[in-house]
Amino acid sequence: MTDSAAFEPLAMDFDGAGDGGERALALLLLSMADDEFVIGFSDSEWTGIGPILEEDVAISSLAQDELGHAQALYGLLVNTVADGRDADAWAYDRPPEGYLHARLLDHHRGDWAMTIARRYLYDTADAARLEALAGSSHQPLRELVAKIRREERYHLMHVQTWIERLADAGGESRARLVAALATLAPDAGTVLAPLPGDEALVRRGIVTEAFATIEARWRDAVGATFRSLGLPTLPPTADPDHARSGHSDAFRALHAELTMVRQSEVGATW
């Protein structure tokens, strides 16, 4: 189902991760943390150039929330892998190909319609994933997910409000949204693509449903919204074997920026 070669760069990352189950948990945590880190950093590029002052503050605040979620998830990963790396090392000290975020987030933030389309697709998929983790057998993850879901409620409300306004406005707003969705939609399902060890995660109750089931529920919900807004149906995921690998030049550029300060003085205490 998933090309294990796509995860080869990570093999070295999990030498300390113990048995297969621990490795599957580590991959889940890393994929979620990287998703939140990449979209958080990418959306923070709007700070100072948002469409209006109020939205500038709102998108910056949302981006900060995502970085906060990433920090907490990297924290759980640190305890799971326990190889001496701290959350900052996980966040900043990997080469671009070592990141495990979904290909949906490989796209540049683009214009406002692109950012809203990407946020909508990501936030709805992330919400479906979090729902399947609300009853996780892994207590630290279950407790963190309960907190994250309370913050994600507002993210969902805000992005739903925006996608409705762009779609309903017609004209250039709608045209830009439709164009953004055409670019992003083939990659939307990558957030919920099965991870290596999917079966182990379900068997151990870490995730309460298989990713295929979560994805089907998410597609139903998004499909209903898109029908009501007259937007095209989501296509199936393109190239599902590389859902979280083979990152884009846009991500490499983002990675160069987000690691710049850290790399300017390796080992410094900030």
């Binding site: 209006i52 002052l53 109020e54 939205e55 503050v57 709102a58 605040s61 507002y154 409300m157 805000h158 409000t161 409705e164 306004r165 779609a167 309903d168 406005a169 017609g170 709608r174 045209a175 439709v178 009501s228 807004l229 007259g230 937007l231 095209p232």
Partner: protein, 124 residues
């Protein structure tokens, strides 16, 4: 088919004004349960939904509030006429403390032979 919104979708927002046009909304916030709602400031927004989102970002993203109201500024009726609000003649007789009663009470007590009653602690 995707060029324009479906016919049953009418222009977005809460339908209360022209869609997409920004206008000022006044924000009232309650700092903690039991406190009165106090004016906090204002936000620009095209409708009540986004006005509440922006009020949340501006006045509670650091958990400063437990309750927010937004009111469209154009829905506020204004009175700032000093002839009505600050009339020039003496109004002290309209104030509850306007009459000094102490001397009259003392005279009445003296006449009836009563002493000044002690403060009734149990009555509170």
């Amino acid at each position: 088919m995707t060029d324009s919104p479906p016919a049953d979708r009418a222009g977005g927002g809460d339908g209360s004004s022209a869609p997409g046009v920004l206008e000022p909304w006044e924000v009232f916030r309650q700092e903690k349960d039991g406190d009165p709602m106090k004016h906090g400031g204002s936000v620009m927004a095209p409708d009540s939904v986004l006005a509440l989102h922006y009020a949340r970002e501006m006045y509670s993203r650091r958990q400063e509030s437990v309750h927010l109201w937004v009111v469209r500024r154009s829905d506020i009726h204004d009175l700032a006429d000093l002839d009505l609000l600050q009339p020039p003649l003496d109004r002290s007789f309209k104030k509850p403390g306007g009459y000094v009663m102490r001397a009259k009470l003392a005279a009445a007590r003296a006449q009836s032979g009563e002493s000044k009653p002690k403060a009734n602690k149990g009555a509170r």
